[in-house]
């Protein structure tokens, strides 16, 4: 049956209008109650994981080839540098072994309850939020591999974020630079606490800094362990700038280039609210409530 052009245009207009209304309703619903979308998001993530994994392979291979080529060129210089570094690290190894022995002795003397054993899963990033308004990464490991919500995501050098959503074979990591990310931190070597707040820029800012102390460029920032999501002492970054608006932290981990992540289970969390479920407004309310121990909304 042929449809007249006028009729077709009317159908087009109606269907587009209807779908725009449905999408707008989704935006509002998604903002008000993200838990409703969580199941959908997890199943889409699980379903797409193999395709994403496959698509990310050529890119990963290209990266690896480029790294290799660079390696060939700098191999001599690297070797000299590494030999020197090895020499230095062997010295540190001695120190570490001595301290570790001493630590064990002192713990024994003090009858300290040992920290729960930690376990970790290494996963590859297969997806990345493409937009300018969110910072998260999808990795190719999920519940089946022992990943659970609330686990800390680390690279070798520092904290990257935390597991926000878990599917059966993929998981989403909320980066510390995301607008919704709030991490209780402490300035290393002092007892000065603050909240590291992401704002989608490369350098998250320090908020609610304890009064009475000053923060200087170069200060090292680590997790404080308050709120119970992360254990204390995970390295996060260094203070890179301080101005009238506050301090900003350069993360140790190169968040713009996350390849492999370690998802570490410290035996904490799991009973947390879903971070993505907290709307920007709720986030603000939670922040203003931070007075004593920070209410952790990550």
């Amino acid at each position: 049956m042929r449809i007249s052009p006028a009729r077709r245009a009317a159908i087009e207009r109606m269907s587009v209008t209807l779908l725009v209304v449905v999408s707008a309703a989704m935006i509002i619903a998604g903002k008000a109650d993200q838990v409703a979308f969580q199941y959908l998001r997890n199943s889409v993530m699980d379903t797409a994981a193999p395709a994403l994994d496959m698509l990310s392979r050529p890119a990963a291979a290209f990266d690896a080839a480029a790294d290799r080529l660079r390696g060939f060129i700098t191999v001599y210089r690297d070797n000299v540098r590494l030999a020197e570094e090895n020499e230095r690290l062997l010295g540190w190894q001695q120190v570490a072994m001595r301290l570790s022995a001493e630590n064990a002795e002192l713990r024994d003397l003090a009858k300290l309850v040992p920290d729960p054993a930690i376990s970790f899963v290494t996963a590859r990033a297969i997806g990345d939020s493409g937009g300018a308004y969110a910072r998260n990464v999808i990795v190719n490991a999920g519940r089946d591999n022992g990943v659970a919500r609330g686990q800390a995501a680390m690279t070798g050098v520092g904290l990257v974020g935390r597991v926000a959503e878990v599917g059966s074979r993929a998981a989403r990591i909320l980066l510390i630079t995301d607008l919704n990310s709030r991490v209780p931190v402490v300035v290393d070597g002092t007892r000065q606490r603050a909240i590291l707040a992401g704002d989608n820029s490369a350098r998250p800012s320090l908020r609610y800094v304890d009064s009475g102390g000053t923060i200087r460029i170069g200060d090292r920032i680590a997790t404080s362990g308050q709120g119970g999501v992360f254990p204390p002492g995970l390295p996060v970054g260094v203070v890179a700038s301080v101005d009238s608006e506050g301090a900003r932290v350069e993360p140790y981990a190169a968040l713009s280039r996350v390849d492999y992540l370690r998802l570490v289970d410290y035996g904490l969390a799991e009973s947390l609210p879903n971070p993505l479920a907290i709307s920007a407004r709720a986030g603000k309310r939670a922040e203003s409530a931070v007075g004593g121990p920070p209410t952790l909304r990550r």
Binding site: L19, R41, A48, A125, S129, N200, S201
Partner: protein
């Protein structure tokens, strides 16, 4: 038979936009591939990329990227609503005109999403990232348009 090329390439564009390719801070700067495919197919073969497919692909991308569900769908549908009435004019134009049209569309889409996110966050968000992303999207359009046009000629034939 409905030709699946437009839908397939647009789905691929949605998947590509969340691929972790690694020139530094790529995630921030991923071009809006899906918008390119939508613009191209809406001009040349809108019958093979109907509104419901745009809705589904946009929603898929939002769910995968962890963004606002519905945002990309709205953007793609509005792009279609804007471009479709003008396609008879655009389809006869040389490439620079098509590109100029895309520039306007992408600029509009950027302002729309920036306004939406600013509204929802209740503060004016930084515009630098979105502007950079828009510039990248506009610069990458000729390549995407060339590839889509090639595949179109090979598999569908001109309208």
């Amino acid at each position: 038979m409905i030709n699946v090329l437009p839908i397939a390439t647009t789905v691929l564009a949605a998947l590509l936009s969340i691929e972790p390719l690694h020139p530094d801070s790529y995630a921030l700067l991923t071009p809006a591939f899906t918008l390119m495919a939508t613009y191209h197919w809406t001009i040349y073969r809108p019958d093979f990329l109907p509104a419901p497919s745009l809705f589904l692909i946009g929603t898929l991308q939002d769910l995968l990227s962890g963004g606002l569900p519905g945002e990309t769908a709205v953007t793609l549908l509005l792009a279609r609503a804007i471009v479709l009435p003008r396609r008879n004019y655009l389809v006869a134009q040389p490439f620079p005109f098509i590109w100029a049209g895309f520039t306007l569309l992408t600029g509009g889409a950027m302002l729309f999403s920036w306004a939406l996110h600013s509204l929802l966050a209740e503060e004016l968000l930084d515009l630098r990232g979105p502007v950079l992303r828009t510039v990248l999207t506009i610069s990458a359009f000729p390549i995407a348009s060339f590839l889509l046009g090639r595949s179109q000629r090979a598999l569908i034939g001109a309208d």
